[in-house]
Symmetry: C2
Subunit: 168 residues, 2 copies
């Protein structure tokens, strides 16, 4: 075992979500729906006033996005179109174009403890926010996880109803 690799001792119970950045959410839903049969989608605008406490690289920072969510089996598929402000999504579009962006686990017993473990192991929060009553955190794991961004969130049972669904 390479002694330079952090050892958090966390136990990830599931991959809850796989997320893709797209330039246009309607186009993304049409393409994933047409080719892979994904949908129907629940669509959320992540923006103020419902989106609060947004941070980016450790500082308060305004950004917003539109999300489309569906399930394939037990796995949540998320499409993300960035709206206002620089974010890890616009960074991805600038550097790589559209595509796979992050994986997430929403099933930790103590999510706040997991956030502390990442920070203490040198993987600080890269971007975060609170949507309604649902806090989420992305970690700066690209160096430690071979290029992969990891997200967690908690209290998803308090997620509000979507703004709309597609197809309606």
């Amino acid at each position: 075992m390479d002694p330079t690799v952090p050892d958090l001792g966390i136990d990830i119970p599931e991959i809850s979500q796989i997320a893709f950045v797209v330039r246009d959410i309607e186009d993304g839903m049409d393409r994933f729906g047409g080719v892979l049969g994904l949908g129907p989608w629940e669509i959320y605008r992540f923006e103020p006033p419902t989106l609060t406490d947004t941070t980016y690289r450790g500082e308060p920072h305004d950004y917003s996005m539109i999300l489309a969510l569906t399930f394939v089996g037990e796995t949540m598929i998320e499409l993300i179109e960035p709206l206002e402000g620089p974010s890890i999504y616009t960074e991805h579009l600038d550097e790589h174009g559209e595509g796979l962006h992050h994986v997430a686990c929403f099933a930790f017993d103590d999510t706040e403890a997991v956030v502390r473990e990442f920070e203490e192991a040198g993987m600080p929060v890269l971007q975060s926010g609170v949507f309604g009553e649902v806090p989420y955190w992305y970690f700066d794991t690209q160096e430690q996880l071979n290029g992969v961004v990891f997200e967690t969130a908690t209290n998803l049972e308090a997620m509000q109803e979507p703004d709309r669904t597609y197809p309606e």
Copy 2:
């Protein structure tokens, strides 16, 4: 619905696998194990003579790789280190570095029919091969699926024993 988007009419039952390209398989296992607690890993060398019938962009083509597989819940996690020959993995390392590479479904009722549907819809096989008795196909879906490569395979119950496991 955008009429230029292919409509295959397939119904994807699950995301069977999420795959990451890494430069060094041991490093990848150490990192995903240390940070996210993934493992133990089953390791396979995908190379001749067990690997046969390899193609790349429609032509016979030699390439090889080493894989490490583990499960997180129901989702198979795959790390891929390319060995010999240009491949879609070396392309990814050259263009994007390490990171998320593709998603796969191994649970279609009629996988050969799915392969034909992709080809007829203008998403030809990008890379393929047969490992022992397990054929697999990657499709050229990056234009139609917002940058995402999709894979399928069949007969996974005939997969041979791994070359080794890690930790042993």
